[in-house]
Symmetry: C3
């Protein structure tokens, strides 16, 4: 398992945790909490894959992300009394998720020959915010990203850095740069 | 018309009825009731086709399901005073719809070479619950499936039975087995 | 720039204005207003492209519509006190948008060999109403089109006129006919 897989898994888990916590706050039953957590964690990636024509979506071909989301949700259910006090910790995880989703998606767009700055950024933003938007629509909230401008701006900054750095930096370096900028900016703004 | 077509049509009609009844309860006008009924009846199938890359969706290539939904809606509008007392009857139809949607979608996934247990089940669940989720989002309810765990579990059981039985059972038998398990479990839990 | 481009740009701008005004009324911050405006303006087209398998969606390949939406939103933010009194003016723009979206989409469907009356009409309706439905779901309203029957009916009439006239009328004439019927009927009904 590479360092990158660790970041990606942390990201999926963090998004699942945010979905599960929202579900518990909205008094859904255990199954509803699970569905909401999974939707939040994989929703952005599914939207992305449908939009770039990468069907069926990656998450549906390989159950890894699904299993991670389910395990995270079960974890949340057992530790809710303890974990929900740590909004700050959750936001750190969420920032890691945002960074890894942005970098992975920008990279995937390039691999699919979608290599203009505009489309790389758009694809990255949709993936980064998509899961959260779906979560909020399901529980009847105006999506968080509409009320928290800085959220999407960090994704845009990360995607732009990825796009330009890929011409000059070797191997996986642009991925880590994009992750660092997105997550770093997000953490700075919490 | 085969026995299978009859089950499929019953399913679409049942989902349309549930959408139309919801629309009337939410005091939409006749056109809104129609749109909600059609969306509920075909939404799951459209989501499925977009996700597996089967575009344009089957329902848009052939107006049959659309016509069935429209006719069902008109039927509901004329019999509302009478029909809305029969929640139990509607749930029976809904169970038939869930069973036929699950079986058809599991089968379609296999035909599209998506033949792992995970993706067959995922595709079946999305089709089975998709229409109802869209309906509930449109009328500002937290989706029913988030509050009624047993709904999705019957779909999962049906899809799993389809997946394993297709290796051993001939012809359409896995379709009927999947339908029987999904609908049977759902009826049992009402 | 052809006369048709002018109509199309007017349409996108009008839809963006309706999204921006909705966002301001719902007290979103400036970024939320921008996202809602862009979503309203491009949402229908993105849905259409995903559904007909035209991925990635046209709007993501070329930033023109995005830029128009952003500029319109900024315009709305500076002129809100003045513009929100002119609901009537906005509805005129909205009717122009509906007409141009309907005609463009019906045309695009034909170009993608989707040439039955049913699918041309369906694609046109989804594009015409899609953006507004997404806008209303995001701000927790039951979609406007569910409460305003005439909206979708004008799209249907336009798409039907396009479908039949393309066999007899040369060049871009069916586009303008479709636009005239959709926009004309809508203006008549305001």
């Amino acid at each position: 398992m590479t360092a990158w897989s660790v970041l990606e898994i942390t990201g999926v888990a963090a998004f699942a945790v945010s979905g599960a916590l929202t579900g518990i706050q909205k008094k859904l039953d255990i199954f509803g909490v699970l569905v909401l957590a999974v939707t939040t964690a994989i929703g952005g990636g599914v939207l992305r894959d449908v939009i770039i024509g990468n069907t069926p979506p990656l998450t549906f071909r390989d159950p890894t992300f699904f299993v991670i989301s389910a395990v995270s949700t079960i974890g949340v259910c057992f530790t809710y009394r303890w974990i929900h006090k740590f909004q700050y910790t959750i936001q750190i995880f969420d920032a890691i998720g945002l960074g890894s989703f942005t970098a992975t998606s920008a990279n995937l767009a390039i691999q699919h020959d979608l290599n203009t700055l505009f489309i790389v950024t758009t694809v990255a933003v949709i993936t980064g915010i998509g899961g959260g938007v779906i979560r909020d629509v399901f529980v009847k909230e105006i999506p968080y990203v509409f009320r928290q401008e800085v959220y999407a701006i960090t994704t845009i900054a990360g995607a732009v850095s990825f796009y330009y750095s890929q011409f000059y930096l070797p191997g996986n370096t642009p991925l880590y740069l994009c992750f660092g900028i997105t997550t770093g900016m997000r953490l700075f703004c919490i």
